[in-house]
């Protein structure tokens, strides 16, 4: 049975999550992908801080399709998290506590997850229509000029995900794939 979780997550809630757990995420999350990450880190390095308060927050690696009239958002599935690996340790060291995306992460990211008691969730890649049904509000909060790559504040209800890397560094991709390897 999936575990219902509310974001932002407390440290205790993160400690209870184990790689492989199915979860349903509710609460407020922020989208950011390639271009937004580059800008956020640039802004931090210039001493200007981040455009949003990332403390204890969850970043969803996603760039949605435009919303049709009357809809909250268009298709909105996860993008490959690995492209953000270069920027992720800095964000985690500055308060970010959770990420939602797809695909494997570098050792540096896993180490940053462990030292900051953070968690990496996986959403179903290529299931953007299904995930859009879980988004009840969407609003651009930074970098509007980036279009689909802008930072959006999303309110989500029961968004289905799986714990990919837990705060102890256990990685579902490694354990899951080892279990079914036949060579």
């Amino acid at each position: 049975m999936p575990i219902h979780i509310q974001v932002p997550l407390t440290q205790d809630a993160i400690k209870n999550l184990k790689a492989g757990d199915s979860v349903l995420i509710s609460g407020v999350i922020y989208t950011a992908r390639d271009a937004a990450h580059e800008r956020m880190v640039e802004s931090y390095q210039k001493g200007e801080g981040f455009p949003i308060n990332i403390n204890r927050q969850l970043i969803y690696y996603a760039g949605p399709c435009p919303a049709k009239p009357g809809e909250v958002i268009g298709s909105c599935g996860p993008t490959t998290a690995g492209r953000m690996d270069k920027f992720t340790p800095l964000l985690l060291d500055n308060g970010l506590s959770a990420m939602l995306g797809k695909g494997s992460r570098t050792k540096e990211v896993v180490e940053a997850i462990k030292r900051n008691t953070a968690v990496y969730f996986g959403a179903i890649g290529g299931a953007g229509a299904l995930i859009a049904q879980c988004i009840t509000e969407a609003e651009v909060v930074a970098y509007d000029d980036l279009g689909t790559e802008a930072i959006r504040k999303l309110t989500v209800k029961d968004l289905p995900a799986v714990v990919l890397i837990d705060c102890e560094g256990n990685d579902l991709y490694v354990t899951g794939q080892t279990m079914y390897k036949q060579e």
Binding site: C65, G74, S75, T79, L172, Y173, G176, Y180
Partner: protein, 280 residues
């Protein structure tokens, strides 16, 4: 000579943009439904079911199956008796892409320059490959290609002596490296022969062949099956979370090549692998 107005082409392309992005092809749907029955991982089975549920929602709401509605790739066969009146054929296709992506609420994912990276905001320009054929028909195949999987593609110039074993090892190695990133179960397009660039185009073209059709040459049909068998033993599974369904199909296309070479390109695609075509 047969006259086709450029507006007819633009209108057809606009419709294809929405169709390909919002409606999963039957061959893919069937392969996914079949894999629910054979997948050994319970988590994997659940993921495959959700992927099918996602396709149902997309079709019902005319919503993109995946938010990465891709860069627009076209394979065009133009009969040499066809005359396009109005815009050039390339302009007509690009206009169709621009209106299809705008009016269809599809994501615009193209940047004008690979380094400077400013979005063109209408998903053009399209990538178009032309073949001039006999007759007075125009066949347009549209394949929106997402980059989660495109980024995991690879090309290698093998030596002739590497032979079929070298080809197999390179394909399997590329899939292994792709791992969880390209939204498995994947469809694997393989181009063998030609030149470096020809092999790459063939590997893309392989992805627009329905996955329930094997290569017409039995040697390559067997190779497709043997590769699929090896790939599905890798353990990657649905979404890379472990399982026995890593790929739905391997499609191979070939071309004559030079006595000194054996180019092999592997174009990785996801569990949606979209394409549609029209004949005007």
């Amino acid at each position: 000579m047969r006259i086709i107005t450029s507006q007819t082409i633009t209108d057809s392309v606009e419709k294809m943009c929405v169709l390909a992005n919002c409606h999963m092809n039957e061959d893919i749907r069937k392969a996914l439904a079949d894999s629910v029955k054979t997948e050994k991982s319970p988590v994997g089975r659940e993921l495959l079911q959700n992927v099918l549920k996602n396709a149902d929602i997309a079709a019902e709401k005319t919503m993109p199956i995946c938010q990465d509605t891709g860069i627009a790739v076209f394979f065009v066969e133009i009969g040499q008796e066809v005359y396009v009146e109005g815009d050039t054929l390339t302009e007509a296709i690009n206009k169709g892409v621009a209106s299809g992506y705008k009016n269809g609420y599809l994501r615009k994912s193209v940047v004008l320059d690979p380094i400077k990276r400013v979005n063109t905001n209408d998903n053009t320009p399209a990538i178009i490959y032309y073949d001039i054929v006999k007759g007075d028909k125009l066949k347009i195949t549209f394949a929106p290609k997402g980059f989660g999987s495109e980024n995991k593609s690879a090309l290698k110039m093998l030596n002739p002596a590497d032979g079929v074993d070298g080809v197999m090892d390179f394909v399997v190695e590329t899939v292994k490296k792709a791992g969880s990133n390209p939204c498995p179960p994947m469809v694997v397009g393989v181009g063998i022969g030609g030149t470096m660039d020809k092999a790459a185009v063939l590997s893309k073209k392989a992805l627009v062949r329905n996955i329930d059709k094997r290569n017409s040459d039995s040697f390559y049909a067997d190779l497709e099956n043997a590769l699929l068998h090896r790939i599905n033993k890798l353990g990657i599974g649905p979404q890379g979370m472990g399982g026995t369904t890593t790929a739905l199909a391997v499609n191979i296309e070939t071309f004559p090549t030079h006595i000194a070479g054996l180019p092999v390109a592997v174009n990785i695609s996801c569990h949606v692998t979209r394409h549609t075509d029209i004949e005007i």
